[in-house]
């Protein structure tokens, strides 16, 4: 229990509040200055430029395979580098590895919790990672022996203080990047389970992440319930860029294959699918916001084919 403030402390407190208010004003003015500067670079609309390009014509998307086997909503999926295998995880607690080409299930694991919100395939194709309401990210080595119990070899790698929303291997089976409802992202060493780097900066749950496609780059983007999309330097843990243009949670982020741009899908769905806004970032980085529906948009994985 605090004793009533003596006059000295009261003045100090007033001074602190004044300083804080002053700083906030400075921050606001910097923000508007930044917006101004960005607006100056906006010399053309992307759709104007797009008009000069030949259209793709009628784009027919057909369902080629339907993989049936989950008992409830499928929350996440990831392609294997071999372009035919898929790992998927569901609200029912199951994680299934499929040969999507034959639609056969190759492996299945039942997680101790329901709502497995994240899953990822290791680059070698020899392991999968998954997690969700258990606040962890676990790695399961995939055995060629179908009879072997996958759960026995499970390795707990990441530990967060809230749900795991997304996970991704870096270009190695040895490191995993995670994002969580605890507002942080983290990079982990798979073998030891050690935290290599943590990424603080989101003011609310982080819902998604995506690694930049470059072999030489060390960045990734994350999207959160604070309506921000942040680009991070994996080496230093610093937030390099921050984009605050959505009006609600960012459910999904995906880099464009060139690594120059990324798209984000948000709960603030605009129902005009061709509405785009562009902001400029680090050198040649473009940020598209294609406002699709409120479901996470997975349109870039189609480039994995």
């Amino acid at each position: 229990m605090r004793s009533p403030p003596i006059p000295e402390m009261a003045t100090q407190e007033v001074q602190l509040n004044e300083t804080l208010a002053h700083l906030k004003t400075e921050s606001e003015s910097l923000k508007s200055k930044l917006e101004e500067e960005r607006a100056k670079l906006h010399d053309v609309e992307l759709h104007q430029v797009a008009e000069k390009v030949e259209g793709l014509g009628q784009f027919v998307m057909k369902t080629r395979r339907t993989l049936k086997g989950h008992g409830n909503k499928v929350l996440c999926m990831d392609w294997c580098k071999d372009k035919r295998r898929i790992v998927s995880s569901s609200q029912d607690g199951k994680v299934i590895v499929w040969d999507a080409f034959t639609t056969n299930k190759e492996h299945a694991v039942t997680m101790p919790c329901t709502w497995v919100m994240a899953c990822a395939y290791a680059p070698s194709g020899c392991a999968v990672a998954c997690g969700g309401l258990d606040n962890k990210c676990s790695v399961y080595p995939l055995s060629l022996d179908k009879n072997e119990n996958l759960a026995a070899k499970k390795k707990s790698v990441a530990m967060h203080t809230n749900y795991l929303s997304a996970c991704s291997f870096t270009n190695s089976d040895m490191q995993i990047l995670t994002s969580s409802g605890d507002g942080t992202c983290a990079l982990w060493d798979v073998e030891s389970g050690q935290l290599l780097q943590s990424f603080h900066g989101h003011a609310a749950d982080v819902l998604c992440l995506d690694l930049a496609p470059s072999e030489t780059g060390n960045t990734f983007v994350s999207g959160g319930c604070d309506k921000k999309a942040n680009v991070w330097d994996m080496r230093s843990g610093q937030c390099i860029q921050s984009f605050e243009t959505h009006e609600s949670d960012i459910n999904s982020v995906r880099y464009y294959p060139s690594g120059d741009a990324f798209a984000s899908g948000s709960d603030d769905a605009t129902l005009t699918a061709n509405k785009m806004r562009i902001l400029l970032k680090k050198e040649s980085t473009l940020f598209f916001i294609k406002k699709l529906g409120r479901t996470s948009e997975k349109y870039f994985p189609v480039f994995n084919l």
Partner: protein
């Protein structure tokens, strides 16, 4: 049952609930749905349709809705309009009058608009007692169109078992509702009954249909104002013994911004202001350049050789892609940039082969070793880093690479506490070196050119002379 024509409560926009993810979508849908129904402002024609001996009031065809969506929302593709319309239907804003499945069809199927009273934005969370009352009253009415579907009959028996002790109460409530309904105008009743049914189709969907009222568990923590949640359609008071539903777990209060937070923000903003940015036009050009270059490699857009495994049943495309015997098309990609060449294992091999012929392979081998270092488990990193130092950087190293003094200093400093990024500066320097020097020569080399033009060894003399000419040009 409460009035179907009850006005929608106007909500204070500063209400934090209004910013919740669902509310944003509901507002957008409601704007559209209001516009569609406004016949004076270009909306669809809502008519009474004659059917055999009776009339169907207040309906519109699915095709009309699709048309309106395409015209008023600038949608070119009817499939997109159907998808959008189906999402609007799934939330219960429009519904087919003869089906429990809430989807939009682009044909003569008849649809009706939901009453604002039942809109999801009113925070409906109807209890099972309410659903029981509804099903019960349906059985009391002798109308063919109100007969229970199989799944509804199953639901009813399950509810009868669950509420065995309350059933008398439920039955009485149902009877009371039937009485109220009977007093209404016949035409009104047809419309109201269908709207009520559509409401339950949203909250107790047909088995197999997605339950749109399922909360995303990640967003459940945000506290919904319990006073706004409506639990009963039929005015049944909230059972005080019911458990608080999981959605009402409040999240920890947001941390107040401290001086340090704001100072950090200011630093960050200043960095952003100092950053060099490009004009949109320039960025657009680079983007278009990329798409043009990679168009032929995108199987969604271009035909691939021999065939797309997902369309035919031939997986040889994948085998070819994975092999170390590259196609001409793949070799062409190596010429786009050094990054592309190094992305492909075959490209790496060939570039290495070329560098070996020039006795300068240590650069690439160093680069590859550092890439590999970053992929190691943590415990192996220090020893691997030492190995790299010994092989490439130490005095008298067998594969000595040429570094600038800055990178060299950095690397040797880092070695005191070796980590995955110990050689980052050095690696960048070497990469730039390769890019500006050896890579260009590689592209002109016979090793590369032979593969690019699919020239096999031991070809005719003419072939050899041609390649000789190309090299010297």
């Amino acid at each position: 049952m409460a009035e179907g024509s009850k006005e929608r409560v106007l909500v204070d926009i500063t209400d934090p609930d209004e910013d919740s993810p669902n509310m944003i979508i509901y507002r957008k849908i409601e704007d559209i749905v209001t516009r569609i129904q406004d016949e004076n402002a270009g909306g669809v024609a809502i008519r009474t349709v004659k059917s055999f001996l009776s009339k169907i009031p207040s309906v519109v065809s699915g095709a009309d809705i699709v048309q309106w969506l395409m015209k008023n929302l600038s949608i070119d593709d009817p499939a997109e309009a159907i998808h959008l319309g189906s999402l609007i239907a799934a939330h219960g804003y429009i519904f087919p009058i003869s089906d429990h499945v809430l989807a939009l069809k682009d044909d003569g199927t008849l649809y009706r608009f939901q009453s604002p009273y039942f809109w999801p934005s009113n925070c409906w969370e109807p209890e099972n007692t309410d659903y029981a009352i509804y099903l019960c009253k349906r059985t009391m009415q002798n109308k063919a169109r109100l007969e229970l579907a199989d799944y509804e009959a199953e639901n009813l028996s399950r509810l009868q078992r669950a509420f065995a002790r309350k059933w008398e109460f439920i039955f009485m409530q149902a009877e009371a509702q039937v009485k109220i309904d009977r007093k209404k105008d016949k035409v009104d009743r047809k419309v109201l009954d269908s709207q009520e049914r559509a409401f339950w189709d949203v909250h107790r969907p047909v088995p197999g249909c997605v339950n749109m009222t399922d909360m995303d568990i990640r967003k459940c923590r945000r506290e919904k104002n319990p006073h706004r949640v409506k639990k009963s359609v039929y005015g049944v008071p909230d059972d005080s013994q019911s458990q608080p539903s999981p959605v009402h777990i409040s999240s920890p209060p947001a941390r107040k911004l401290t001086q340090e937070d704001v100072e950090k923000e200011i630093t960050f903003l200043n960095i952003q202001l100092g950053r060099h940015c490009m004009k949109v036009s320039k960025v657009a050009d680079s983007l278009m350049g990329y798409t043009e270059q990679f168009m032929e490699y995108d199987p969604l857009v271009s035909a691939i050789e021999p065939s797309n495994p997902w369309i035919g049943d031939d997986t040889s495309f994948w085998d070819v892609e994975a092999s170390h015997d590259p196609t001409q098309q793949r070799v062409k990609k190596w010429g786009f940039s050094l990054e592309e060449a190094l992305k492909d294992p075959a490209g790496r091999d060939q570039f290495l082969k070329f560098l070996e012929s020039e006795f300068s392979s240590e650069n690439l081998r160093f680069w590859l070793a550092v890439q590999d270092l970053k992929r190691q488990p943590l415990q192996d990193v220090p020893s691997r880093a030492q190995e790299i130092w010994q092989e490439f950087l130490a005095e008298g190293a067998p594969s000595s690479v040429n570094l600038d003094s800055h990178s060299y200093e950095r690397a040797s400093q880092n070695l005191k506490d070796p980590g995955r990024y110990s050689f980052e500066d050095a690696q960048e320097h070497i990469f730039t070196l390769m890019k500006s020097d050896s890579y260009a020569r590689f592209l002109r080399s016979s090793i590369y050119q032979d593969l690019l033009f699919a020239r096999k060894k031991g070809k005719s003399l003419t072939g050899k002379r041609l390649s000789g000419l190309m090299q010297s040009s």
